[in-house]
Assembly symmetry: C2
Homo-oligomer: 300 residues x 2
């Protein structure tokens, strides 16, 4: 079989030429696996996230560079949710056949655009082409770096519930361009007053129940306190209210956290409180109703 | 938006119910990232591999269980190539919409079929459904476990070249059912006599050049010594010779290694030797020709 150029190995060679040295990586790239010297004091945090054409981006609209950025930033946002420091990533790309070397390079450069500011090193990956649509995955390794990871399971009755920015309407563009809140997450966690944290990927109404269930608590959200993004206002012309968008739209990638943060002057907005009853409520104009999970879920 | 059941979270709940405890994982699953306590003495090896419908398997023919097994075994074979011990994995699945919860479970059970015998724990993942074909990825973390990782770059002139089993014709079925050579790889590496190693995923003619280039050496393969699998004989009815299949077919997932292993009684077959000239040759019936790389390469 004669292989047409450019092929997988041209791309791999090019990627290797882009490599930045890292203190973590004693063995040069180019082996079956990358070799990492992990620091003994650091807990290792690991997660993986995929972006799929037509679900998380639209390759007819979004540039490969922005798709690469989003794929990496989703994982960096998971690092923020755990208050860890991104260290190392590996990635895969399933490329539509014939898409070309330049497109693949732009995807990689998008991944690097997002990872480089955090000194997160891409140490390996797997590239293939197929008669299918574009899929990118990023696996990220974070290190605890002197801050105990913040889980979803530490919320306690009486804690405040906070978000790090205005919510809703990310589909207008922010879902491709959000910035992972890593520095803020570390600042918050370093206070020792954060009890649980998650990043808002599926919408507040769907992500808050993860904290409540895993912490064995309930919550009350005060509608008037929820910071609403201008995009949610714009989108509300579709008949769903601004608040509906702020509570239920996905991919804000702001942090949702619980704890006792009053008086610390931190840039977070209190939106409610944790309760001991296992129910999640919304108060609005003096009335109380159940806050039903209506955010994004993939259907199998 | 009302979400139809069964959905992503049903699957995630089910996966969590399947979790096996692990010494590596101090924090229970269910967070943005899994938390791992890495052992200070161990180097960490990391890699990722994807399997794509129509490229690495055919979902019309192969069962989801066998697809899951292959996805994991490809990564375990990378661990074998580095002589490390698989420890932890994370996975993604991009599922064709409507494929159903039972299919997703079978994929996961296939991953577990392959990982469990090595006590390799699946600690996290990401599942999504889309209007596309099935993609599975596995990221694997291996630990060096008192054996220095074997890279591709240590081969020296005069070393023998060895393979761990017969080659060719894996497309007849073995590409779905191969066993990762981890125990043998560890046994080989523990001798201290292995200088370079790789797993045969793209075919000997394409994988040997990786060792030669990264080691700065050449090689001579002796055609008469290459162990040929019965599948290559069967396939040779297509007009390509058995030897052609053995040298050029992909996905054998046997190990290709170099070193000085004579007299150790190890279950490997010597197929040639490393030379100082930067060329890769094939001797056959007393004649010498260039061994051209004709194995599998993805085209972009």
């Amino acid at each position: 079989m004669i292989v047409a150029m450019p092929g997988e190995f041209d791309f791999i060679e090019w990627v290797r030429s882009q490599h930045k040295p890292s203190a973590f990586v004693p063995v040069p790239q180019g082996d079956d696996l990358a070799v990492i010297r992990w620091l003994a004091d650091d807990l290792l945090l690991i997660g993986v996230d995929q972006v799929l054409d037509g679900v998380h981006f639209d390759s007819k609209i979004h540039s490969p560079r922005s798709i690469g950025r989003k794929a990496m930033n989703r994982n960096l946002s998971d690092c923020a949710a755990m208050a860890c420091v991104p260290a190392v990533a590996v990635t895969t790309a399933a490329l539509p056949r014939g898409i070309g070397l330049d497109y693949a390079k732009e995807l990689y450069l998008g991944l690097r655009d997002a990872a480089d500011p955090f000194d997160c090193t891409i140490v390996g990956g797997d590239t293939g082409s197929w008669d299918g649509k574009l899929v990118l995955t990023v696996t990220i390794l974070g290190r605890s770096g002197d801050i105990q990871p913040i889980t979803r399971s530490g919320a306690k009755a009486g804690d405040g519930i906070y978000v790090t920015g205005p919510l809703g309407g990310s589909i207008l563009g922010r879902h491709m361009t959000f910035e992972p809140r890593i520095a803020l997450a570390r600042e918050l966690a370093a206070t020792g007053r954060v009890t649980a944290m998650i990043d808002l990927s599926d919408g507040l109404s769907r992500d808050l129940p993860h904290i409540c269930r895993q912490s064995g608590v309930g919550a009350v959200i005060e509608a008037e306190r929820v910071p609403i993004h201008a995009d949610a206002l714009t989108l509300s012309q579709d008949g769903r209210s601004q608040l509906d968008h702020a509570l239920n739209d996905g991919e804000d990638h702001e942090l949702l956290l619980t704890g006792r943060l009053e008086g610390l002057g931190l840039p977070v907005t209190r939106v409610g409180k944790i309760t001991s009853r296992a129910e999640i409520l919304l108060t609005r104009e003096g009335k109380t109703e159940a806050l039903t999970a209506a955010g994004w879920e993939h259907r199998l």
